[in-house]
């Protein structure tokens, strides 16, 4: 995410780009790479926790005798993903797959996607529930710091002009045709970036945390409104799973955009903070 220091780095830049600017502050960079590790660990340990009961339900209760809306399993020599009435053959990837030594496994998510790689609910919970605190700590520091230093207001909140439908439509067209901002226009996030980061920050991450807490019987006792907010513990578990996949989707788009926009420049800016404004075509 971008911190743009306009005054210091502005000297010597040309409108046509090509100059090196200071784009990401050290707080943003540290949080970014902490999250990269912490969220990957939480995803992969979460998939192992899901493997312990690969069914999702809506409502207050839900167990083997009840009807799931999503199920990953196997029958005979086929692995499947069932969503409602839809059954997708996922042999080899979900439900039934071969482990690193070639042996057939009947778990939902395969060993390359889980922490630990072999079935161990207890150990995956240790990872998940400890890294949750690392995530919470990083998020709290980031949130306080971003409000304090103006990062949120200056870099992430869209300006009124950016929210006009015409402008958004134009940005969508530019993205669809892979025409990215050049020169000075690349100094700030575009409106699609701002909206995406805001959705992740104020919708997806809070949903993830709150649905995670709703799965805790102790927190449900302390904050019973969580059960009403999500319509029950099993609904919260389902939403937790869905939002996890929206975050994976965000991650995939994020990586694709980095690669398309120039991976070396982008990755360097997130390591050293320095970003070279892309040159405009003559």
């Amino acid at each position: 995410m971008s911190d743009v220091e306009s005054s210091a780095a502005h000297q010597g830049t040309s409108e046509r780009g090509g100059s090196l600017i200071y784009r990401h502050r050290v707080s943003t960079r540290l949080w970014h790479w902490t999250n990269a590790v912490v969220l990957l660990v939480m995803l992969m340990s979460g998939l192992m926790i899901f493997n312990a009961h690969p069914h999702l339900y809506w409502g207050q209760y839900g167990a083997n005798p009840d009807t799931p809306w999503l199920e990953i399993g196997s029958s005979g020599d086929r692995g499947f993903l069932k969503i409602g009435d839809l059954t997708i053959d996922t042999t080899g990837v979900l439900g039934l797959w071969r482990g690193p030594n070639g042996q057939l496994q009947q778990r939902a998510f395969p060993s390359w996607a889980t922490i630990p790689s072999s079935y161990n609910l207890a150990v995956s919970r240790l990872w998940h529930l400890t890294f949750a605190w690392l995530f919470a700590g990083g998020l709290a520091l980031y949130a306080i710091w971003s409000l304090f230093n103006g990062h949120l207001r200056r870099d992430l909140l869209p300006r009124t002009a950016e929210l006009k439908p015409g402008h958004i439509l134009q940005e969508v067209k530019h993205h669809a045709t892979l025409r990215f901002a050049k020169g000075e226009a690349a100094r700030n996030f575009n409106v699609l970036q701002k909206l995406t980061y805001l959705v992740v920050l104020v919708v997806l991450i809070p949903l993830m945390i709150l649905t995670g807490l709703t799965m805790s019987p102790a927190i449900d006792a302390a904050w019973p409104w969580l059960l009403d907010l999500f319509g029950g513990r099993q609904s919260a578990r389902s939403i937790h799973f869905i939002v996890a996949f929206l975050l994976v989707l965000f991650f995939i788009v994020h990586i694709v955009m980095v690669v398309l926009a120039g991976p070396i420049n982008e990755v360097r800016s997130m390591i050293t903070g320095r970003f070279r404004l892309p040159k405009e075509r003559p």
Partner: protein, 255 residues
């Protein structure tokens, strides 16, 4: 950028991602086995225990209505103890069953089911959350654990209540333990009834624990003895419960 450099870059990124994933998984597996890292992974339980106690206080778990009951409450863990003693008692409808209450108590008890039923009772419709992720709602009737502990005059030195069970896994007896806060929580009961009937065998007859702010494996079934202790280190392998001992499950299971 040229087409050639893009392709080689893509190939580089792909192999980087695949190799990275394999290294990450292997690395995490190695870390999972390292005692120092396991200690770090234990900090989550420590934080959850303290913070949930802080925000939870004496809060009650949600109680549901008859309409919310699971149509079919599945059983879990052992569905029937193998012990000869338990089977002998079960054959006679547990008339000879006695619950032993001992350890750090001033007046050790030996209570029959009739005596337990004559004590104050509490009925609650609550949600059972298994560590695996599923939930089932059931109606439980039993005697508050606090009433049993008061009757035995619990010592001030007691810090944990241990539940010894009649069932076993491969010869190792099941047991569980909770702290004094949960032991005196109003919804912590020794249940002898379920869904308006007698507690079924699969759900822990004749007596099981309900400790409603924790996960399923804490809800000890087939209880034969309650022991008050000041430390868990001498019980089993010292981690406070069967699954805690053999499977590195957290002793505090509030999440």
């Amino acid at each position: 950028m040229t087409q050639k450099s893009f392709l080689s870059r893509r190939r580089f990124l792909t192999s980087f991602a695949v190799g990275g994933s394999a290294a990450l998984v292997a690395g995490c597996d190695a870390l999972s086995r390292s005692p120092t890292f396991r200690e770090f992974l234990g900090t989550g339980e420590w934080l959850n225990y303290r913070i949930q106690r802080l925000v939870g206080g004496a809060a009650l778990a949600r109680e549901y209505t008859e309409a919310d009951l699971s149509p079919n409450f599945r059983t879990n863990g052992n569905s029937r103890p193998r012990s000869n003693e338990w089977n002998r008692l079960a054959a006679a409808d547990f008339v000879d069953y006695r619950l032993t209450v001992d350890g750090l108590v001033e007046e050790p008890q030996s209570l029959s089911l009739a005596e337990l039923r004559s004590m104050p009772s509490r009925t609650q419709i609550t949600r059972h959350d298994c560590v695996e992720g599923w939930s089932a709602i059931g109606k439980w009737t039993g005697v508050p654990l606090s009433a049993v502990l008061d009757r035995a005059r619990l010592s001030d030195r007691a810090r944990f209540i241990v539940f010894h069970c009649a069932d076993d896994f491969r010869g190792t007896s099941y047991y569980e333990s909770i702290d004094i806060v949960d032991a005196f929580h109003p919804q912590t009961i020794l249940a002898y009834g379920m869904n308006d009937g007698i507690l079924p065998t699969g759900h822990g007859a004749p007596l099981r624990l309900r400790v409603e702010r924790q996960l399923g494996y804490k809800q000890a079934k087939f209880i034969t003895r309650i022991e008050a202790v000041d430390s868990l280190s001498d019980i089993g392998r010292g981690r406070g419960g069967y699954w805690e001992d053999v499977g590195s499950y957290n002793w505090y299971a509030g999440i």
